[in-house]
Subunit: 364 residues, 2 copies
Amino acid sequence: MTKPNSADALPINTILEGDCIDVMNGLPAASVDLIFADPPYNLQLKGDLHRPDNSRVDAVDDDWDQFSSFSAYDQFTRDWLKAARRLLKPDGAIWVIGSYHNIFRVGAALQDAGYWILNDVVWRKSNPMPNFRGKRFTNAHETMIWASKSEGAKYTFNYEALKALNEGIQMRSDWVLPICNGGERLKDEDGEKAHPTQKPQALLHRVLVGSTKPGNIVLDPFFGTGTTGAVAKMLGRDWIGIEREDKYRTVAEKRIAAVRRLDKSSLEVTASKRAEPRVPFGQLVERGMLRPGEELHSMNGRHKAKVRADGTLIGNDIKGSIHQVGAHLEGAPSCNGWTYWCFKRDGKTVPIDVLRQQIRSELD
Amino acid sequence: MTKPNSADALPINTILEGDCIDVMNGLPAASVDLIFADPPYNLQLKGDLHRPDNSRVDAVDDDWDQFSSFSAYDQFTRDWLKAARRLLKPDGAIWVIGSYHNIFRVGAALQDAGYWILNDVVWRKSNPMPNFRGKRFTNAHETMIWASKSEGAKYTFNYEALKALNEGIQMRSDWVLPICNGGERLKDEDGEKAHPTQKPQALLHRVLVGSTKPGNIVLDPFFGTGTTGAVAKMLGRDWIGIEREDKYRTVAEKRIAAVRRLDKSSLEVTASKRAEPRVPFGQLVERGMLRPGEELHSMNGRHKAKVRADGTLIGNDIKGSIHQVGAHLEGAPSCNGWTYWCFKRDGKTVPIDVLRQQIRSELD
DNA sequence: CCCTCTCCTGAATCTAGCA
DNA sequence: ATGCTAGATTCAGGAGAGG
C-alpha cells in the first residue's frame, strides 16, 4: 500500500470545493510547506461556521451582541488554525492577513494553538481609501502575521533574496505596496470587481520568494480569486486552493490557467553563504595552499599565529581552530576565522577566505 | 456634597507610586479623558545576542517584563484594562502600544473588555535595530491600538489639527518617526539609559494633539520616565502617572519639572523633510512591471541580461544587482543601473527609470 | 568653521550541523 | 535527546575625536 500521509496523495495545483475546515481535515497531515490565509473578518457570520465535526457554531443571530459574535469568530479561528497546523510539515510556516477588526484575535489564537510568531509585517498601502467622515485616521495598512508551526522549527527564510529585492538592505517588517487595482483587478462579466478583497500579486510575490523554495507546496484555505495560486505557479511552487463559492473558483481557474511558469534560471535567487559547502581549514594545509609553520596575521594586524600540520593554529598561549584562536585573541565570544586571518604572498596580505573560495569554485 | 467622582478629587499632575491596578482602583470612576499605556511586552528572550562585530545587545531583560505564561500575561492584561476602563469618562479613549509579542493578546482583551477599536496605528521606525542573524525581517515597527471606552462613544479626534501636522494631507494609520535617542534619551547618573524602552516625544505629541483637548486629563498607568507627562504638560493637558519603580519616578519628576507649558500660539509643528523615496529595483519585479525572465538591454545596445525573481540580474557570467551587473559588463568601477538598462514594450525601447518614476508618483 | 572617520547603540522571542 | 563547534550576521544616526 502507499503511505496514506504521503504528499503524493495531495491534489496539487487544483482548487478544492467546500468549507476549508472540512477539506483540510480530509488532506494528509504534515504535507504542505506554507499556508497563506486571508480569512474573512465579517462578524455577522449567519451560521456559515462549522466545527471540524460538522456541528454548526452557534453564531450570531438577529440580536447578537459583541461578545457572542467575538466568541463565534474565535471558535471559527481556532478550528481552521488547528486544521491548518495539522497539514503543515514540521518546518512549515503560515501567513495570515487581517485588519484591526480580526487580526488581534487571530494573532492570539495563533499563539494559543502553538504556532510561533516570527514577525508581524505591515502592508503599508500607497493608495488607500481615504477616511471620508474625518472621524478616524486613514486606514492605510493591513497586518500580516508570519509564524512557524512551532517554536524552534527550521522555517524557510530566503534572507539574501529579500535583501536583493530591497537593493541590498535587509527587508523590513513594513512593506509599501499599492492596493490591487487597474489591470490586475479581476472583473466579472458585468464589469464589477470579481472579489471584494483581492490581494495584490506583489504581496504574494514577496511572501513566496521570502518563505518558500521552488517546488514547495503552498496551501491557501481562503482562495478567493486565486492570487496565491497565480503567483505560486509563476514562481514554480505547487499550490492547493480551497474555496467555497463557485463564482470565485471559476474566476481563479481561468486566471491561473493563463499564468506562465517561469524558467529555472529566473527562479533562482541570490543564495545564502550558509548554503555553500563547508570547507575545513585543514584542507588548505593538506593541499599545500598553506604550509605548516606558516604565519597568519589577523585582519587588524594586532595578532599572529602559526599554522600546524593538522589545520589548527598556535598563538602565544592558545592552540585550536582558526575560529577558537581568533576569538581568544580578541576576547570575543566568537570569531569567523575565515574572515579574520590573512597570509602573506609576494609581499601582499591576502585573506585566507580567498583560498576557501578557490576550493569551492573547483567543486562546481 | 461634592460629587465623589469629581475630577477635583484627582491627584492631577503627579506621579503615583505603586502597582497600577491597585492605584487605579483607588481613583474615582469616570474621571479621565485619555489613557496612554505602554505595558510590558512580555518578550521571551533566551540567550544573549551579539552583533556581527561581537558587541552584546543590551536586551530588555528586566524583571517587570517577565511573565510565567501567556495565560498569566492575559490575566494581568485583563485586570489592568478593566481598572483603566472604569476610570475613563464615557467619551474617553485609550491608546495601548505593543509589539507582536503582546499586542494581539492586548487587542483581543480590549475588545473582550468592551472597548471599541477605532484604529490600529503603526509606528514605522526610521532607524530600527537591524536583525543581526539574518533570520527574520527587521523588526521595524510597533503597533498602537486606539479605542474608545465603548461602541458609539463620542471620542475626541482633532482631524484638522492632524491634517495640519501632516502638511495638509489626512493623517494615515502609519506614522514614520525615529526611535528615541540622542539628547532626548534620558540617562542616569552613570550615563546609562535611564529606562530601556523610553518612547519618543513625537509619538506622544501626535497622540495627544489628535485625541485630547487642552485641559483634558491624561492617565499613564505605566509611566516609566514620564514621556506622557512631559508632552501632556507641554501641550497644556493635565496628567497622572502611575509607576512602581522608584528610579523611574525620580527621573520622571525631574524631567517634567523642566518642561515649560507652551503658550497657545506656539504649538510647533515639526515639518518632516521629504527626501525622494528610494525605490528598490525588486519592486518593479514584485509588482509585475517587469517579469522575471525578461531581458534588459544596455542603453548602448552592447549588453543584455535577464531579470530574476528576486530583482537581481543574470548576465553571461555574472549575477547581481542592476548596478553591479552594469558595472561588470562595462568594466567600470560603478554604474547607475537605473539609467543603464532598458526594456522593450511594443517594439519600443524604454529605460527602466521610467518605471521607477511611476512608482514614485504613486507615493506622493 | 567644516569635514571625515570611528565608535557606539536601539523593546530581539536572531544558527546549523554533526557527533 | 544533548553538547560542541564552525562560522554567518547590521542600519541609521548621534557623539566625539582629529585634521
